[in-house]
Symmetry: C2
Subunit: 258 residues, 2 copies
C-alpha cells in the first residue's frame, strides 16, 4: 500500500471543517491553514488539529486541499510555495482557468455542509480531476479513504453537477423554508409536512420525478391555482407562479411527445 | 368498541386506490363506486373488492369516502341518496361551500399518491372536519384505524396545509425533474445527486430550513449565478432566476432583523 501524504486543509469554513473531521475519523490528522487566528483556535479546540497562519510554511511532501471560495482560489494558489500539490473543492471553477505550470487538481464533494450537522463521508460522492496523471491517482486514492463513491469528472461535468445540485438542494431547501414560513404565518406546524417530504424524497430514489408529478399545476386545476396565488404575495407568489408555469410547460412537452 | 360502518369509496383514482388498500390491510373491505366499468374491473382484479356503478345503491348504513376531483364533489353529493354520510378527501374544498342540509365531512390525507408506489398509511397525517359532531367522531375513529397521525382541522387550516404541500412536494418534485433533465442533457446520471437529496431531506427533519440555506444565491455569488443562468434557457432559466431572487430576498430580510 502506498503511503498517505501529509494533508493540509486551507480554509476554515464548513467544507474545511467537515473534510478535516472525515480525515481524523480515518486516523489522518491534517494541519489546518487560515488567516483568522480565532477561527483556527476553534479548529484546534474542536478537532484537536495543528493549525498555521503561514502558507509559506507548506512543504513539498504535503498535499493541499483548498476549501475556499471560488474567487479566492487563484490568489491562494499563488501564495502556496511552488511545487506543492494543490486540489480545490469548488464545483464551478474550471481547472483550465488556473495556472498550467502548477500541479493542480479537484477534490469536489457533491454535498451540502452545515455547521453542527454530522455527515457520513462514505455516502458523499467525490469528483476528482487533475492536470497531472500521478496527482489524479493520488487524489482518487485519498478520496477512497473517506468515501465509497469516488468518480473522475471533467470540469464541465462537475459544473453541470453543481448547477443541478443548486436546483435539487439549494432551491428545494428554500421551498421548505417558504412552506415553513407560510405555515407559521397561519399558526400551523411545519411538522405536519414532514411525512410528505420524506415520501417525496423516498420516491425520487427509485422513480423518475417526471413520472410522479402530482398537484394542481399538472392537473391544470385553474381554480385552485388562482386561489393559491391570491393567498400569496411577493417572492412566494412569484415562485408559485413560475413553478406552476414550468410544470405546465413540462406537461405540454410530454403530451407533444406522445 | 363501536362497530365499524360499511365503507364505500367513490372514485377510482390514486387516492381511491390507496385508501381502499389501507382499509383492506386492516381487514375492512370497502365497496368501490365509479362510472367507468373497465377501471372498476381493475379494482376488482387488483384489490378483490366489490364494485358498483350506481350511486343510488348506497344505503344509510354506509359511510362514503369521496375521492374525486374538487370540481366533481358538489355534483356527486347531489347524486348520493339523502341521509348517507359523505366525507371527501380534497385539500382545498371548503366544507362551508357545500349543502348545509347534508351530513358532510372531510377525510384529508396529507400525502402524495402515485400508482404502483406503496405507502405506509400509519405515517400519513389525516385531517378531519365535519358539520356534524357525531360524524366527526366517527371519521376520527375511522382515520385512527389506518393512521397514527390524525388531527381535526378547519377548512382554512386544511387549505393552508394543502398550499404548503404544493410547495414542499409538487414544486420540489418538479425541481428534481428539472435537475434530472438537465443532467440527462449533459449525459450525466441523476443518481449522482441522490446522496445530496437524501441529506437535504434528512436535515429538514430536524433543523429549520432557514438556518441551513447554502449555495450561490445566499452567498450572493454573482459570478456563478450569471454562469448558471447563461447555461439555462426557457422555464429552467426563469425558475433559476426567480428562486435565486427569492433566496436573496430572504437573506436581506434576515439581515434586517438582526
Amino acid at each position: 500500500m502506498k503511503e498517505i501524504p501529509k494533508i493540509a486543509i486551507v480554509g476554515t469554513g464548513n467544507v474545511a471543517f467537515h473534510l478535516t473531521h472525515f480525515f481524523i475519523e480515518e486516523g489522518i490528522i491534517p494541519s489546518v491553514f487560515g488567516r483568522n487566528k480565532p477561527t483556527l483556535l476553534a479548529f484546534e479546540k474542536e478537532l484537536n488539529v495543528p493549525t498555521n497562519q503561514e502558507l509559506s510554511a507548506l512543504t513539498l511532501d504535503t498535499l493541499v486541499l483548498l476549501c475556499v471560495s471560488d474567487q479566492a482560489i487563484p490568489e491562494i494558489i499563488d501564495r502556496v510555495p511552488n511545487g506543492v500539490r494543490i486540489a480545490y473543492t469548488s464545483g464551478s471553477t474550471d481547472l483550465r482557468s488556473l495556472p498550467k505550470d502548477r500541479v493542480l487538481g479537484v477534490f469536489y464533494p457533491l454535498q451540502t455542509f452545515s455547521k453542527g450537522v454530522e455527515l457520513d463521508a462514505r455516502e458523499i460522492p467525490f469528483f476528482i480531476e487533475s492536470n497531472d496523471a500521478e496527482f489524479e491517482k493520488e487524489l482518487l486514492t485519498l478520496a477512497r479513504i473517506i468515501s465509497n463513491i469516488v468518480h473522475k469528472a471533467s470540469s464541465m461535468d462537475r459544473y453541470h453537477l453543481h448547477l443541478a445540485a443548486v436546483m435539487s438542494n439549494n432551491f428545494v431547501n428554500h421551498l421548505f423554508h417558504l412552506s415553513e414560513k407560510y405555515l407559521q404565518e397561519h399558526q400551523l406546524s411545519f411538522d405536519y409536512l414532514k411525512p410528505l417530504i420524506r415520501e417525496t424524497i423516498r420516491k425520487a430514489g427509485f422513480i423518475s420525478p417526471s413520472l410522479i408529478q402530482t398537484g394542481p399545476a399538472i392537473r391544470n386545476d385553474h381554480e385552485i391555482i388562482a386561489k393559491h396565488l391570491a393567498s400569496l404575495s411577493g417572492s412566494e407568489k412569484e415562485v408559485y407562479a413560475v413553478l406552476t408555469r414550468s410544470i405546465q410547460n413540462t406537461k405540454e412537452k410530454n403530451q407533444d411527445e406522445l
